[in-house]
Amino acid sequence: MFANYLIGLREGLEASLVIGILVAYLVRTHRRGLLREVWIGVGAAAALSLAIGAFLTLGPSSLSFTAQELIGGILSIVTVALVTWMIFWMGKTARFLKGNLENALEKAIAVGSGAVVTMAFIAVGREGIETALFLWAGISAAGATLAPVVGAVLGLASAVVLGILFYRGAVRLNLRVFFQWTGVFLIIVAGGVLAYGIHDLQEAGVLPGLNNLAFDVSAAVPAGSVHGTLLKGIFNFSAQTTVLQAVAWFAYVVPVMFLFVRMAFRGSPKPQAAASPSSAPALTR
């Protein structure tokens, strides 16, 4: 049961944290009106995943391997694009906050309801089908034993609780600090999603180098361990990472982090907010 619990936790954690950040973002920028769109996206993705999972588990058809890996790869790359876009909303927001331009915030980071629905839909849908297949397999086994499905549901529930705790912490932070550090966090998450997608495409044979490993730390970070589950669930860390995955991770994280840090931690759109370095030590408030 514990192993099934960890699978549930792993599958739900990333989605839960991304939704937690999205909700915190909307609440803190006074856009509570868009929360309904978040739950529409989450609900639609969960319902569609469960329906597809049921169709594939209980119906006469099953998902071909290539299609499955292709879906995994495509959804991962769409997720990376969307999360990157979300990261730069945050960078922009942090930048405006530094210049005390909260009034300008409204116009600068106008977010459409379609964007919010899509973000929530993709965050949940990316691993949704895989999770649904796992849940339906548990339900199919329920005649023999309830333990797997109970474990999996408890794992998913724990992921949701961690997302709520993350949200609670996030809304207490200083607003600017919130945008800066959730942005940094999301860049690492998105890098992991990209590497995960690359691995799917390598398994499908679309990309080469499946057996060309950059490192193998599966002895130190076993997939069935709690720390392995958390690393996999939050950052998509793979104990056996291929060279291509590692290259893609760095090629994404390094430039995006550079641009984000420059935008969110230093830059300010108004010159008076940026004191020149030489005069900074003399400034006392």
Binding site: S61, A147, A223
Partner: protein
């Protein structure tokens, strides 16, 4: 509803178009434990083969079908929790394949040979 929303919906709907019917597939049962990978048959006629993979161990397991080189993945099913059964249906051309259970989701797995098309076809 806009274009951005339609794209992920399309991506999720795509597998439905790529479904393989498993009703006329050759059924093969697989039992994966910490130390064993018992495959109920090691041969099958050319065509669809449905592997019903049951995890009889206490770690999460995976089941792979490799090409003869033992490296190229032909098909796989991941994340099979203890006590669960997942079905992997795959259409196999004549040839020799390698099956592998990976208890603990790591390593090269417990491997075996699987021959397709060699059995006398009626």
């Amino acid at each position: 509803m806009n274009v951005r929303f339609a794209l992920p919906a399309l991506a999720l709907a795509l597998p439905l178009a790529a479904c393989a019917s498993s009703t006329d597939a050759t059924q093969v049962a697989v039992s994966s434990t910490a130390t064993e990978c018992v495959v109920s048959a090691t041969t099958a006629p050319t065509g669809a083969v449905a592997f019903d993979v049951t995890n009889d161990g206490d770690q999460v397991t995976e089941f792979y079908i490799y090409a003869q080189d033992g490296e190229t993945v032909v098909a796989e099913v991941e994340g099979i929790g203890p006590s669960l059964t997942r079905t992997l249906t795959v259409t196999l051309a004549a040839g020799t394949y390698v099956t592998a259970c990976k208890p603990g989701e790591t390593g090269d797995g417990i491997r075996g040979e699987f021959v397709v098309g060699a059995a006398p076809s009626a």
